[in-house]
Each structure stands twice: as C-alpha cells, then as structure tokens.
C-alpha cells in the first residue's frame, strides 16, 4: 500500500491523559484494546473463516500493530451488539454470520478441491468475495440467506466498523479521536489545534512528524 503515513507519528492514544479524553472514554477504549482473543461465540472453524475473511476486507499487511478483527467480531457477536433489525428474508445478525460463514466455507470447498476458505490463496479468497459482492455465488450453498445481501448487510456493515472503531485506524486517517471535555478551537479545516493530526504535505513529512509527536 502506498502513502500510509499521511499523518506520520500521530497517535490518538498519546492524548489519553489529556483533556481530550475523559474517564468513560478511557474505560471504553481500554476494554476494546484488551478484547479477549479466545472465541466465545464462534466455533474454531468459524473463527478461522472469519479471520481469513476479515483479513481480506481490511488487509493489514504492514508492520506494526494489527487490529484483531476476528476477536472483535467474536466479541461483538457474543454481546449481540448489532443494529438489531433483519430484512424479512434474512436472519438476525448472529444467525446470519453463522450461516454466512458456513456458506462461504461450503463455497470454498466446492470450488477449491475441498479446501477451507482460510486455506485457499489470497487471490482466490478475493475472487470469492468479489463474486459474493456481485451476487454470483450459487444459491445451493446459501440456504435461507442471500449471499449478496449477507455481504452488504453483514460483512460490509460489521467488519469495517471493527477496524475504524479502533484507535490505530483513527491515527491512520488523522481523525481527532475522543474529544471530551476538550473539543476544538480552530474550526477551519486548514488550521489545526495543537492536539490534532498534522498532515504530511509532500516534501514536509519531517515537519508533520515533529508536530505529531507533540500533540498536547
């Protein structure tokens, strides 16, 4: 991936003890940062499939911290923290995930010589996902579940939120992060408060990094 360091050196977590964070926020983020890596909802097979799927939806090939998407998904499903509603011909979130992961598994085995979704190549995984997105997967493996809508309504709704709900992602995109009690003084986009991320304008990455290392 190309310019991942748009905000070099910026870490939202560096503001944890500043007025930008308050106690309820620290509690909530700490819980997320220490999510259990032991499956409580998904079976071992489901976890493997979910893990492989999440790695394709939000690939994290670069060095450094990895957001544990499968663990966060498992925690979300365990707590049943979803949007609550289902379309008339789809199951609710938990059942949808179990059925969808099972169906994806069946698809992989049918197309790739009995191999699990987690075991096939990245390109093959991507290709299956693209077919799921375009509605090209055979209904045979998807009883009671529309593959395309599973992808739209569950995969694309639930998985990106796990990544972009994590401080690592906030730092990556230069989001201000938690902001209570302290909000923002300078509301102009091109004028940052000293506690906001500095964007690395081409040729001035060092200047941005220096600013980002001193978010107050």
């Amino acid at each position: 991936m190309s310019d991942r360091s748009r905000y070099p050196g910026y870490d939202v977590l560096a503001k944890r003890e500043t007025p930008s964070w308050d106690e309820p926020t620290r509690r909530a983020i700490d819980k997320r940062l220490h999510v259990s890596t032991a499956a409580r909802f998904l079976t071992a097979a489901e976890w493997a499939g979910a893990d492989a799927l999440c790695r394709r939806i939000l690939p994290q090939d670069e060095e450094g911290e990895t957001v544990p998407l499968a663990a966060l998904l498992d925690a979300k499903l365990f707590a049943d923290h979803g949007d609550g509603f289902r379309e008339a011909d789809m199951p609710y979130m938990r059942e949808a995930w179990r059925a969808g992961l099972a169906a994806l598994e069946a698809e992989a085995k049918a197309r790739y010589d009995g191999h699990s979704f987690a075991a096939i190549s990245i390109d093959d995984q991507d290709s299956l996902i693209a077919m799921m997105q375009k509605g090209l997967l055979s209904a045979a493996h998807w009883p009671g579940l529309d593959a395309q809508r599973f992808f739209e309504r569950r995969v694309l709704v639930d998985v990106p939120a796990l990544y972009y709900g994590h401080p690592k992602a906030w730092s990556e995109i230069g989001f201000g992060g938690p902001a209570s009690p302290r909000g923002y003084v300078r509301l102009e986009g091109d004028r940052r408060d000293p506690w906001e991320a500095a964007e690395a304008v081409s040729g001035q990455e060092e200047a941005a990094r220096r600013l980002n290392q001193h978010v107050v």
Partner: protein
C-alpha cells in the same frame, strides 16, 4: 500639574498597550501568525508600554520625539490592522454578516492599538506646554480636547464589547455593564468637554472611577466565563482562547483613567 496630567495620559496609554499586547498575542497565536504582519501589534504595543513607562518617569516639559514616533506607529498600526480585519471579515462567505462579525478577526480590536497611540499623542501634546501656562492642544483648551477624544474612544470600545456580548446573548446580566457604563461616561465627558471649565464635577469623576473599576472587574468576570467552559481552567487550551478574552476589559480602565485626567485638567485651568 501639566506634567502630571501628561504622565497620567502616558499611564493610560500604557494600560491600553498592555491590554493590546496580551490580547493580540493570544488571538494572533490562535491564528498561528499566519501572516507575518500579525507580529506588528506585538512589537508596537511592547514599544508603547516601554514608551509609556518612560513617559511616566519623565517629569520634564516638552514632547519627547521618540515617544511621539512610537505612539504614532501605534496609531498607524491600529488603522492598518483594522483594514486587515475588515478584509478578513468580508472575504469569508457571507461577507459583511453577523456570522463573520462575530467569529472572524474582531473588527474593533486593532482600534485599541490606535487608541493607545491617541492617548500617548495627547500625553505628549499636553506635556508640550510651557510651565505655568494654560495648556492647549492646537490652540484649544487641552482638557476639552482630551475629554472629547476620550469620550469618543469609549464609544468605540463599547461597540466592540457590545458586539461580542451580543454574540454571547448577554447570557449573564453583568455583560450589560460595558455597554451601559462607558456610554454614560462618554456622555459625561462630552458634557465636560463643551461645558464650563473650572467646574468641579464630582459625579462625573466618580462615574469614571467606577468605569475604571469596571474594566478591572471585567477581567474577573472573563475569568469566570473561562471557567464556565467545559473542563474549566483545566481545559485552558480551549477555554482561554475560545472563551471571553481576559486581557480585553482593561482597555476601558485605560480610557477611564484618561477621562479622569481630562476632568482634572478641566477643573484646574480656565479657557484663554
């Protein structure tokens, strides 16, 4: 007496310069001095403080050339600053609108620098009278000139405070003080400026003293206002900059002190 009146005006100029120095420093820091010229009021207000202190210690008659230059620079800076702030207000979408008057560069703030320059100019003109003479400025009774110009200046600071307190919806009753007391002070100074000289005006003196105190109280009120922001003083990085400007109210004090000096001159000297 002439020199003492001049020294009072030097002090008034210095007080206003102090207010301008801290206010423009904070506000221009908020704007990150993105235009290098934003350093100018920092420089001219600092010089004005030095000049005013010098004038305060100077007991000689005669205008001081360097002080005159510094005060003139202050005066010009204020005018140029006003033009910049006007541009800042009108270039934003909506142009000349309440939104931009409320939230862009404060339109009346640079004028305080000019008022400092004006008070300093008056200080030197008063001083530039022979000992024992009846002091004049451009041929007119000095007391009348200082009273009239100080009164007009008070209306200016009232307008600026009024704009920002209007933005704050006068949410606290005390916010009515700087839009009621100074105009009355200005009125009293206008009456004194055109009325008979050598008349004691104890009520006017008391009102001007009260207005001077109002300026000091304003700092305390503004500090309370900062504490009313979310997170209070702990969140000073936001609240001191987004909240009511702490250094602004003493501009009223400076002008009120100049008004008292004008009343003293009027009480001491008849017209020619």
């Amino acid at each position: 007496m002439i020199v003492n009146a001049a020294r009072r005006l030097n002090r008034a100029a210095g007080m206003i310069a102090g207010s301008v120095l801290i206010d423009s420093a904070m506000e221009h820091h908020r704007g990150y001095f993105h235009n290098k010229l934003m350093w100018t009021p920092i420089a001219t207000s600092s010089l004005s403080i030095a000049a005013s202190f010098h004038g305060h210690t100077d007991r000689r008659h005669g205008a001081h050339r360097v002080r005159d230059v510094i005060y003139a620079l202050a005066g010009v800076t204020g005018i140029v600053g006003t033009a910049f702030h006007l541009y800042n207000v009108t270039k934003k979408v909506g142009g000349w609108s309440w939104q931009n008057l409320f939230y862009s560069a404060p339109i009346g703030a640079p004028a305080a620098m000019s008022l400092c320059g004006l008070m300093g100019f008056l200080a030197e003109r008063v001083r530039d009278n022979e000992p024992g003479s009846k002091p004049t400025i451009a041929g007119v009774n000095a007391g009348r000139v200082v009273a009239a110009l100080t009164g007009a200046s008070l209306l200016g600071t009232t307008a600026e405070a009024g704009l920002l307190h209007f933005r704050g919806a006068f949410h606290n009753p005390a916010m009515a003080l700087p839009v009621t007391m100074p105009p009355i002070a200005a009125g009293l100074l206008a009456v004194a400026a055109v009325g008979r000289a050598r008349v004691p005006r104890p009520a006017s003196r008391k009102w001007l003293a009260a207005t001077a105190a109002m300026g000091v109280a304003g700092v305390a009120f503004h500090a309370y206002g900062v504490s009313r922001g979310m997170g209070g003083w702990r969140n000073w990085r936001q609240n001191a900059f987004a909240g009511p400007p702490l250094p602004a109210p003493p501009a009223f004090t400076g002008l009120a002190l100049a008004g008292l000096a004008a009343l003293a001159l009027l009480a001491a000297y008849p017209d020619e």
